[in-house]
Amino acid sequence: MSRRRQLAEVVLGRGDYAAGGACTEPFLEQDGARRRRPMVLGEVLCHEPEDPLVRSMFSGRTSNPGDWAMMWREIGADGVCVRVRDPDDSMVVAAVAIRTGLPVAVSGPREAVDACADIDGTVLILMDASPGDDGHVRAMTFGSGIAEGPNRMHLVTGRFPEPDAFSEAASIRNRALDGDAYCDAPIAFDVTPVWDDGFTDERSASMIEGEAALAAMLSGADLMIVRGPGAADMARVYGEELADL
């Protein structure tokens, strides 16, 4: 049956992006859904990726994280997710934040992520790589200029088409709509594990990662992290159609 409850949102970037703020099951106009599509963040590594397909998809820009992040901006991503490995990578994150002006999420070992906490000029979503006490991995946002209000997000990740992570996201959204205060936080869904077995060509990578993103948004994701530009494009287009934008 239909449920309606205003859920929390998190303001990102320089206050010009927001994730969450849903009030219904995903996209349901019949329940009065808010017309907002999930944000799409493109992945950037601080080192050259091993997968030749990824290098090819970004026309060689993967050797420089700043260039790579700029390509994400040019193709319309709402932000980037920088995978850091050690504290020195915070300089890369700072450069990406300044150069792109986009919201930057940071993911990696706790020590490396913590080193990014004082970077100025953007709001970071810091993803703790270790599971929380309740089995969920949490994402926290902090940094300069963050708006008042909740600053917590759920981070869900899983390998499409295995259903567990998608069920978890749907469960978080449903429980939030039922009034569970812990669950009432936007959901960030990292779909990149779909790459774990590798892809043979760009088309299959785009199609399968795009399907993973579609499944994530139908499960309640408010923000998605993707690896391929084709999937990012599909996720944005599908999100706009489902949100009736």
Binding site: E29, Q30, P161, S204, M234
Partner: protein, 218 residues
């Protein structure tokens, strides 16, 4: 109880193809189906609007051992083809034809039927009337044209089904070709749709849809 307790999908073949192209197309679908368990049916489309050509195409498709969906705007053509093929229970569909005539024919032949209507109330009325007329296996096609409509209609029908028995029927989505068709079928599957009929999808797309059905269909 219906024939479509488990979700599945169909690829289609046009009866307007020449004999060789049709044989090639049918063989291609059968090959994909051999490694794609959810690809359980071939939809034979009456693009030629000719009973003889539809029957010939249905006969070609029936040799695969897959289930058959017969699709025509002319209910008379469906009757001719359904009576001719050895497959005892082709699924009958006439998106733009007379739905009550279709239901009467399905009842007479003892065949499963897909009833189509853009209005959900209309679908429920059709479903009740077809059941009263003796139809056994009834599926409902809300004739959606895009992903958004598919999401809204599928959820609305499932909510109705929780309250009204005549709405509790397997839902069908009809999509075209390529990645957008795959996306529509995916939305349907993830919200409880039971049958996706697509014009075409490459083997990789079929594999993705098969995985989705295996993992996500209720």
């Amino acid at each position: 109880m219906t024939s479509f307790e488990r979700a599945s999908f169909a690829l289609s073949v046009s009866d307007a193809m020449d004999e060789d192209s049709m044989a090639e197309r049918v063989a291609r679908i059968a090959t994909i189906a051999s490694v794609t368990p959810s690809l359980g049916l071939i939809c034979v489309r009456d693009d030629a609007m000719d009973a003889g050509m539809l029957t010939a195409a249905a006969l070609a498709a029936s040799g695969t051992g897959l289930g058959i969906v017969l699709e025509s705007d002319d209910v008379g053509n469906l009757a001719a083809a359904a009576s001719a093929i050895p497959c005892s229970e082709p699924v009958l569909c006439s998106q733009n034809g007379d739905q009550m005539a279709l239901a009467v024919m399905a009842s007479t032949l003892g065949a499963p039927v897909i009833l189509s209507c853009e209005s959900l109330n209309g679908l429920m009325e059709l479903s009740s009337a077809a059941e009263a007329g003796g139809c056994r296996d009834i599926m409902l096609n809300p004739m959606v044209r895009n992903m958004k409509q598919c999401l809204e209609s599928t959820v609305a029908m499932r909510r109705l089904a929780a309250r009204i028995p005549s709405a509790d029927r397997p839902l069908v989505v009809r999509a075209w070709s390529g990645e957008y068709a795959l996306a529509m079928a995916s939305v349907s599957v993830m919200r409880g749709g039971r049958l996706a009929v697509l014009d075409d999808l490459d083997p990789q797309g079929c594999e993705v849809l098969d995985s989705l059905i295996s993992n996500f269909s209720a």
